[in-house]
């Protein structure tokens, strides 16, 4: 491939293809974005060459190649359904690669509950104290699940279970924090809000995608055992 050839294609890519790929890959994780760009760029170059063989100018061939790709917004929606988004990749990284980073948050909530228990000790609030003791137990348990159990379960290959468990432990943490210091009505609203935010928007979509990747690996091994 000559330098002039590369230069022509680079110019065409920058002018015609980049606006399309900027939209189509928006929000995808870096790995996913790189993979998509690699394939779309190769496709674009093939399309330009085919166009130039049909006696189109390089400019016209590039314009038509992008036109043939169709809506970048539609492609973006489809890619987001298949690949991890930047936020999901980051959540997964925190969950599996740096689980101890979340430990200080669990410790802070546990300390605030301990402080409340010690404060309540001086007053006749037996029920409230028992509730906070139970909440403290839940926070400690979910902290252990989040920092110790989840990475292990993930490494064992049970990815969906690990993600759902990680999300549940985070949900329980914030639920305990809210329950310990709000009125009953506020508590219910906050619990629902946290469930929707943490599980509904964060961990459950991630768990669905993770399981697909897990299946893919299993099938790969089954179809090509020597690889």
């Amino acid at each position: 491939m000559s330098d002039s050839y590369s230069c022509i294609h680079w110019h065409a890519q920058f002018k015609h293809l980049k606006p399309w790929t900027d939209v189509a890959t928006k929000g995808l994780s870096e790995d996913s974005r790189a993979r998509v760009l690699e394939e779309i760029t190769a496709h674009f170059e093939d399309a330009i060459e085919a166009g130039m063989r049909r006696c189109l100018s390089e400019e016209e061939a590039a314009r038509r190649a992008v036109e043939d790709l169709g809506s970048a917004w539609r492609a973006q929606l489809a890619f987001r359904r298949t690949y991890l988004t930047r936020l999901q990749a980051s959540t997964l990284g925190h969950l599996v690669e740096t689980p101890l980073r979340s430990a200080p948050v669990y410790c802070l909530v546990a300390l605030s509950l301990i402080a409340q228990i010690l404060y309540l000790d001086a007053h006749p609030h037996a029920t409230a104290k028992a509730v906070r003791l139970a909440l403290l137990g839940v926070v400690v348990l979910s902290g252990l699940i989040r920092t110790v159990a989840v990475p292990r379960i993930f490494r064992q290959g049970r990815r969906r279970a690990a993600v759902v468990l990680g999300g549940t432990s985070e949900f329980l943490l914030w639920t305990c924090f809210i329950i310990s210091g709000r009125s009953p009505v506020e508590r219910h609203l906050w619990v629902v809000a946290f469930f929707v935010l943490i599980m509904g928007l964060g961990y459950i979509p991630l768990a669905i995608k993770i399981e697909r990747q897990h299946l893919e690996e299993l099938l790969e091994k089954r179809d090509h055992p020597k690889e």
Binding site: I40, A42, H43, L69, R74, A78, F79, R212, E220, D223
Partner: protein, 103 residues
């Protein structure tokens, strides 16, 4: 004509005849449909990646004619899925043809 949801089975069919890269798959579908299907090439890659995630096809790198490309091949699971979808399509096609036939 926009036959929504048919792209995955078209991809499986094209790959059942040999390993191919994205552009070649797109060209083959366009050539065979003779321009009847409203097929946008950008929708090919999300569909390919979705099929790959489901384990129906598998990708691998290959360099040919000095060009580095990602090729796709059909897996055993993909062959089974294609056979099932062909049967389903024939049933549907027969039913629609019978309905549209003049009485």
């Amino acid at each position: 004509m926009n036959l929504k949801g048919t792209l995955p089975v078209l991809i499986l069919q094209v790959l059942s005849e040999g390993d191919k890269y994205g552009y070649a798959i797109a060209q083959e579908i366009t050539r065979r449909s003779r321009g009847v299907l409203d097929f946008k090439e950008g929708s090919l890659y999300p569909a390919l990646h979705a099929q790959e995630k489901k384990g129906l096809i598998q990708s691998f790198d290959r360099t040919a004619d000095g060009r580095h490309r990602r090729y796709y091949r059909l897996t055993d699971r993909g062959k089974e899925a294609l056979a099932a979808q062909r049967t389903e399509w024939r049933r549907l096609s027969t039913a629609i043809t019978e309905i549209l036939a003049p009485a």
